[in-house]
């Protein structure tokens, strides 16, 4: 079995390997040991703490092979992005240029540097071992975060977002950066990307354009990649899209990658998940496959959070009967509460 649990400082070696193997490289998960050590320490403090409102917390989750302890993926939640300094994105606006006198009506897009997402909860740093990409496991890792948010709403905000990697080539050249950021920074994309390590550094305010950028004035290459996903990032994108995340209003300030946003209450994992009590016994496992359905299941704990994918009776009886092994993996006892969400949406 494969389960999701909070990351620990001792996971450093394996996480560093995952980060180094990530394609494209993620600025939110740099393969830099010191940075990762700091992040893991912060995450461990976060899970051990009792935050009552979103602040500087970082929740990092790992995907672990239950039998071997091997780590297969990592994904995080930043409780409130850009708390210390604003979080920057470009808002993609439409400006209408119209003259009744001249019978002209013309729509022009413009990118405006904005702080609108500052303080919102951000899903970030999704990275999974390539061998799992065609399985249900990536959904388990990505959505476990949303089930966690559903269990502890007070720790997060009502608006969620995620920044996905935009188009760049194997040498780390981004057409958008070449035409836009480079004019203001005079640095190469990857250099700037990893100097920043995020989207909330003072130098962004100092260097990025204060005035809106008219899209027709950008090079054709740059226009073509606005809001476009890095070809190797379709998996995390589609997982969020299935949750209801949309990507039409903002783009990333460095590579113009899509910025996906959603109202927490409209998120599928949150809206369509159910709480059930636990009883432990002989689960009627696979007695009749037609009555069963694959569910993502997690416990209600913070520090001892666990999530896994289980086949459960279609109608989710209350209480749910788990066998010993599943109960052990989920670290639950008789009388505890579970949250369950169907892996695949109801067929319409």
């Amino acid at each position: 079995m494969i389960h999701v649990r909070p990351a620990r400082p001792a996971d450093l070696d394996q996480i560093e390997q995952l980060a180094a193997a990530a394609r494209p490289l993620l600025h939110s998960l740099p393969a830099d040991r010191d940075t990762l050590r700091d992040k893991l320490a912060l995450s461990a403090r976060t899970f051990a703490g009792d935050a009552s409102a979103p602040d500087d917390e970082l929740y990092s989750f790992v995907l672990e092979q239950s039998s071997t302890g091997r780590l297969l993926g990592i994904a995080s939640i930043v409780a409130a992005a850009g708390r210390a300094e604003p979080f920057y994105t470009y808002r993609n606006e439409v400006i209408v240029h119209a003259s009744r006198e001249l019978r002209i009506h013309h729509r022009v897009h413009a990118l405006t540097l904005c702080h609108e997402l500052t303080g919102n909860t951000q899903l970030s740093g999704f990275c999974i071992s390539a061998e799992l990409s065609r399985t249900e496991i990536p959904a388990l890792l990505s959505r476990a975060r949303l089930l966690f948010i559903a269990n502890h709403p007070e720790r997060f905000t009502e608006d969620l977002f995620a920044v996905l990697p935009g188009v760049s080539d194997e040498d780390g050249r981004s057409p958008f950066w070449e035409n836009v950021g480079h004019k203001f920074f005079g640095l190469e994309f990857r250099q700037a990307e990893f100097l920043s390590g995020g989207r909330n550094k003072t130098f962004i305010a100092e260097l990025m354009p204060h005035h809106p950028l008219y899209v027709p004035l950008l090079s054709e290459d740059a226009q073509a990649v606005m809001g476009q996903l890095h070809p190797q990032s379709t998996l995390p994108f589609s997982l969020l899209a299935e949750e209801g995340f949309e990507s039409d209003r903002f783009v990333d300030i460095f590579d113009a990658g899509p910025v996906m946003t959603v109202k927490r209450e409209l998120c599928r994992s949150i809206r369509e998940s159910h709480r059930r009590g636990v009883t432990i016994g002989d689960a009627p496992a696979f007695a009749d496959e037609a009555d069963h359905r694959l569910y993502l299941v997690c416990n209600a704990s913070v520090e001892r959070f666990r999530a896994l994918a289980l086949a459960l009776p279609q109608d989710l009886p209350e209480p749910l009967t788990l066998d010993e092994q599943a109960a052990a993996l989920l670290e639950v006892e008789e009388g505890d509460t579970l949250r369950c969400a169907a892996l695949h949406p109801d067929r319409a």
Partner: protein
């Protein structure tokens, strides 16, 4: 002889003929009878004190008195932008710097502005190609400054002049192609025609409201900023001699420079002088003349100081201590008599060593 004078209603046919020679490049001198007639009425109303400030303007013509033909024209608008907004781009500068990253970048930025609202404007300068000689170009352009020096209360504190911008070999404006076109979806000629129909302010409403980073324009378009059309370079030089300067305002369509200065700082306002007219059948040459003051020498612009029948001529000699000697023909052309006071201005400034452009090649005006 060649004379610059206020335009009269009877000049309409001559002006129409002149406008045909000017061709389509001159947006403020279209060969359209109704437009020109309206302009003449506006000038008459301005002189009579009947035209509101927003529509006040003056127009002068250059006449060859031997043939009675009108060979050039030059105008002044009293206050621009009070009727329809007067748009220009101001090229400003943003510096993007981060000490942390060791970055320091200069980012020139175009800001849409109405900065020049209320300025007086020098406009509509055109001289028939056959007459671009003998100092006629400077005479035509600078006659206006003698008028301003005479009646400064009729003009704004600041004055400007739009210079035609750069066009490439295919007669396209690289600046328009890179900027304006995106916001209008029309060709320059079409926009230019709308401008000549007085619809510039409507067009300007379609221009980008947000500042534009120059770095996002192609290099050919960047080079256009403040660049004068090659045919207009002499006109620009002449205005610069007078004290006008490019202060980073440009035309919003083709990025031609707008020159500007304080009206009181115009060289003619500072340096022109009043002299009494004496009539001589054969004025002595200045070298042999014991009465020369020595303040100025050489050819001199002379105006008659009359609001309703303003006249300026270029004569070959400088004023003397006892007045300025005019021939009877010159006095008749200027409509002055012995004992009248005229305003004079040396064609060339000795003190500052500046030279007027004067050969045919250089005085091909076209703004």
């Amino acid at each position: 002889m060649i004379l610059v004078r206020s335009v009269r209603p009877t000049d309409l046919d001559s002006l129409l003929e002149l406008a045909r020679k000017a061709g389509p490049g001159m947006t403020t001198l279209k060969a359209d009878r109704a437009t020109l007639a309206e302009r003449l009425a506006r000038v008459a109303g301005t002189l009579a004190g009947e035209t509101p400030l927003a529509r006040q303007g003056y127009l002068f013509v250059m006449e060859d008195t031997d043939s009675g033909t009108v060979v050039g024209t030059a105008g002044i608008e009293t206050a621009v932008g009070l009727d329809q907004p007067f748009y220009s781009y101001r090229q400003g500068l943003m510096v993007h710097a981060s000490r942390e990253l060791g970055v320091w970048k200069r980012m020139p930025t175009l800001y849409l502005s109405h900065d020049l609202t209320g300025y007086s404007e020098l406009c509509t300068l055109f001289l028939d190609a056959d007459y671009r000689r003998d100092g006629n170009g400077p005479l035509l352009s600078r006659a206006r400054f003698l008028f301003i020096a005479e009646f400064p209360e009729r003009f704004a504190e600041r004055i400007c002049a739009e210079m035609r911008g750069h066009f490439d070999e295919d007669n396209r404006s690289p600046f328009w192609e890179a900027l304006g076109k995106h916001f209008f979806a029309m060709e320059f000629e079409q926009a230019d025609m709308l401008v000549s129909l007085g619809k510039k302010a409507f067009l300007a409403e379609l221009m980008p409201r947000h500042p534009v980073y120059v770095a996002f324009l192609p290099e050919a378009a960047q080079r256009c900023i403040g660049l004068t059309h090659r045919d207009t370079v002499p006109a620009r030089r002449l205005l610069e001699t007078e004290g006008l300067r490019f202060e980073n305002h440009i035309d919003i369509f083709e990025a031609g420079p707008i020159l500007e200065c304080h009206t009181a700082d115009l060289r003619t306002c500072r340096d022109s002088a009043l002299h009494v007219v004496t009539i001589r059948e054969h004025p002595v040459s200045e070298e042999a003349d014991a009465g020369a003051c020595g303040a100025t020498s050489g050819p001199t612009l002379v105006s008659n100081r009359k609001l309703h029948d303003f006249r300026v001529a270029l004569i070959e000699r400088a004023p003397r201590c006892d007045g300025i000697p005019l021939t009877p023909a010159e006095a008749a052309a200027l409509q002055v008599e012995a004992g009248d006071t005229v305003r004079t201005m040396a064609l060339r400034s000795k003190a500052r060593g500046e030279r007027e452009p004067r050969n045919t090649e250089e005085t091909r005006t076209g703004s």
